[in-house]
Amino acid sequence: MLEALHMLSIGMSNLMDPYTLLMCGFGGMLGVLVGALPGLGATAGCSLLLPITFTMNPTVALVTLAAVYYGDMFGGGISAILINIPGDSHAAVTALDGYALSKKGYAGKALFVCFLSSFVGGMIGAMLLTVMGTTLTNIGLKFGAPEMAMVILVAMTSIGWILGEVPYKGLIATGLGLLLATVGMEPLTSRPRFLFGQIALVQGIPFIPACIGLFGLSTVIQITVDGIFKVPDVQTKRLRYKECIPSKEEFKRMVPVHLRGATEGFFIGMLPGSGATIATFFAYLIEKRVNKRGSEMGTGIVEGVAVAEAADNAAAIGSFGPMFALGIPGSGTSAVLLGGLLMWGLQPGPLFLTNNAEMAWSVIASMFIGCLIVAVLCIVMIPLLSSIVRVPNRILMPIVVSLSLIGAYAVNLSMYDMYIVLIAGVIGYFFLEIGIPQSPLVLSLLLGYDLEKYFRQAIIMGSGKWSVFLTRKLSLGIVIFGLLFISIPIVVNILKKRRTIRKKQ
């Protein structure tokens, strides 16, 4: 650990060069921009910047690209909170409470919590990466298909907490999401399913356009149907900075939420192939279960935004762990960064951290400073950002539709994604009208493909034996955790009821 701190101090001193600091801030703000614009995630941001960084010193280039990655985590929440369109897939969770807060007139506060939590999540993530990055990476690598399948299954069992007022409707959304996740090529043999003659469906239903439609376009349709002049504008008066800052009590409530969210997010982010989106959903669902105010999450409370943002930023930073320690990308964006390393003539792999220690530690050090720079800049801009919700609905709605369409197109540069937004928007609108919650559909659409892939891989690993989930120690541990996770609240409830009956008697 002392060695790690020593290396971190060397990294910090490397970072004190004004040009590196400037590029770190620039990368962070570019990340915020691409994060806030629907459809353009960190992967797109890094890919756009990669050719420009070719002429830079590799350390500065990597610091800049890393800043784009975590800057994206800050920015993703902005459009999710203000207009209910997640800027990136991980921000779909932020939209649940963030937009609800916005509708209540607390857009400024939601943004403040979003940036603060991203910052805290980033800091905790960077600390964990410094102190136990290599150890955790090695544990993470022991996660095979059975363990991943069980992690996803535990997350799926928690869907019960977001099923809404009529649980059957929530289950319908879950089943539909799982069924839609099977559209396209199946994960193991690439055999096509449910294509209906549409070749574009081979890649499956794209997640981000589906999210944009379900959350963003559906809201526009609902506001227009209810009467664009009848529905009150979200915010009419100018926002004062004081109103954006959460109360003392809210700050207190957020501390454990940040700690839990960031730790869970960091660890899931380290698992190869998981990424920030799964981490964010997982942390949100766990928080909903363990938090005292969990039942209120989804209706617009700061905890919902805090856990999502802390988890996604920590997960983004966590994904650097396997990349530095073993040369394995933890997410799509770190895969682009690995490509960058090759471009600069560096060899990613298990020896990267040893051969390029100074460079790697400069990047880790930049995460502390970069997160601080981005958080300060974002918090300063809150009044400017929240002025978006002061735009009357009559103008804001067409802008949202335009942003939905161009954002969806930007994901894969495909016209087909625009049709997905449209269809998802109309389905989302009917869901809102009939009272079907959208979150279980989004969650099962996201996790369904991975669940099938890991589940089937696990059975193959076990030579066809379904007991593979119980014979591996880690997998068994997750199964036991999942069972406890499900049964403890039920047992506690039964005990509480018995106590109340006894007291009455």
Binding site: V225, P398, L403, L405, Y409, M415, M418, L422, E452, G464
Partner: protein, 196 residues
């Protein structure tokens, strides 16, 4: 007193529709093959998802039927509640109308003649309208399509004047061009390319 039954028709319709979708998923899954050599096959997940969907649809159907068996006095109480709610709604709308412009639009009135239910009508207007816009985007370019959509939205739904609609739509299209094409260099379908 004779019992009357009131069912939430949307919930009944939803459960029947979803059960049919689930049935399709299950049958397709069986055709794909649930198991192959004792291992989950291509059809495993569709059958699993279809079963969740089917069971929850049946449960919703049964729940809706059970909830629908209300006695007539409950119905009367509901009717009174509804009347009160409507009265409150009317007063609120009158109040809002003092400060805001008429909510009925030319587009809404015209479509009302074709499809009676307001919500379904608007959803269809969106579906068809944006479908046409996407077609236009494909043929004439992104910014021309978005400009046209914004102009029509601002004129016929937001009820701005011709000039205001023209100016705002142009400003939106220009700012999108500035951010997406000039700053970020995203290659969107363009009008010039469509001419070639």
């Amino acid at each position: 007193m004779k019992k009357r039954y009131v069912y939430k028709m949307t919930d009944l319709g939803l459960s029947v529709f979803m059960a049919l979708v689930a049935g399709y998923g299950i049958i397709s899954g069986i055709r794909f093959g649930i198991l192959s050599g004792g291992r989950p096959g291509t059809g495993f997940q569709p059958v699993f998802a279809g079963l969740i969907l089917f069971i929850s649809s049946v449960c919703l159907f049964i729940k809706t039927i059970r909830d629908g068996k209300k006695k007539i006095d409950e119905l009367q109480a509901d009717a009174e509640k509804q009347k009160k709610h409507e009265e409150q709604q009317r007063l609120r709308e009158e109040d809002a109308a003092k400060n805001r412009r008429d909510t009925e639009t030319w587009l809404g009135k015209a479509a009302a003649k074709l499809i009676p239910q307001a919500k379904l009508r608007w959803a269809l207007i969106y579906l068809v309208g944006i479908w046409i816009i996407i077609f236009i985007i494909d043929k004439l370019g992104m910014y021309v399509g978005l400009w046209l959509m914004n102009f029509l939205f601002l004129k016929f739904i937001s009820k701005y004047s011709w000039w205001q609609s023209l100016l705002i739509a142009s400003a939106i299209a220009a700012s999108f061009y500035l951010v997406f094409s000039l700053t970020l260099g995203i290659n969107v379908p363009s009008f010039l390319n469509s001419l070639r």
